[in-house]
Subunit: 160 residues, 2 copies
């Protein structure tokens, strides 16, 4: 029953960041699933995450509050869909905690981790409903933003 589905991004609809990083996947997993860690790396500086709530199970909350350099706060709330420790984390803002339909949603995110020697193949995928939403996300700076956040994650876990 827990066979995980194959991730098959559609280049017209989705955005993918794939990098091999020189930190072990257990630490990448910890950085993604621990609120105090998320607050330190999740937003490219000078933006920040001022608050994070995680209930790490399907239907459990994943909530962050992002703060702009000017001090404006942007809350995000969604729920986890799949939690395979150390391997795959899936969440969406289409559903609130407990799987309740959200007023409006934007994406499903998938973090997939594979060990490569002592490092990790890190694949972040954002799934969207249509071409316009993918383009909007790309124009918001998906590639630069997710790369910078990953750099911050690596810097953090190397300090552990």
């Amino acid at each position: 029953m827990n066979r995980a589905f194959a991730i098959e991004p559609d280049p017209n609809l989705d955005l993918v960041l794939e990098r091999v990083v020189d930190v072990p996947r257990e630490l990448v997993w910890a950085a993604w699933t621990t609120p105090e860690h998320v607050c330190q790396w999740f937003c490219p500086r000078p933006w920040s995450v001022t608050d994070c709530e995680i209930d790490l199970r399907p239907g459990g909350i994943f909530r962050t509050t992002m703060r702009s350099p000017e001090g404006e706060e942007f809350p995000n709330v969604g729920c986890y869909l799949e939690v395979i420790p150390g391997e795959r984390l899936v969440w969406t803002d289409m559903l609130l905690p407990g799987f309740r339909p959200a007023e409006q949603g934007f994406m499903t995110g998938i973090i997939a981790l594979e060990s490569v020697g002592e490092g990790t193949k890190y694949t972040a995928t954002a799934l969207h409903r249509d071409v316009e939403t993918r383009k909007q996300h790309e124009d918001m700076g998906f590639h630069a933003g997710w790369n910078t956040a990953l750099d911050q994650l690596i810097e953090l876990v190397k300090s552990f």
Copy 2:
């Protein structure tokens, strides 16, 4: 990691059907998760289900085609969110297979089963985003429809 979340319906937003039925929950589960069974009971007659596709895992497809007495067909596609064999089945049309955001969604459905003697406490919950959607679903005949479908399910599994 697989602790299931508590189901906490909101009377303003959600619809609930709870009945104790005199068939064992293994058979209720089979009726819900086998395409050829779903085709026989899922729609109150004289409506029917002409096609059903099931990939019983989180992110897997749950698709039905309903046909009106006049022969008009209404396809529905969504995906499973949680599959706890014999106990709980959760799906939504807010997400397509593979958890991709859908163009438009309506509800999350939860079927929860508990053994009561040789029978089953059957709780069907429909979660909605707002009061209007709940009312729309109620006006579409949620209570009569889901009760009749359950009667058809019981009739079917008693014929096994």
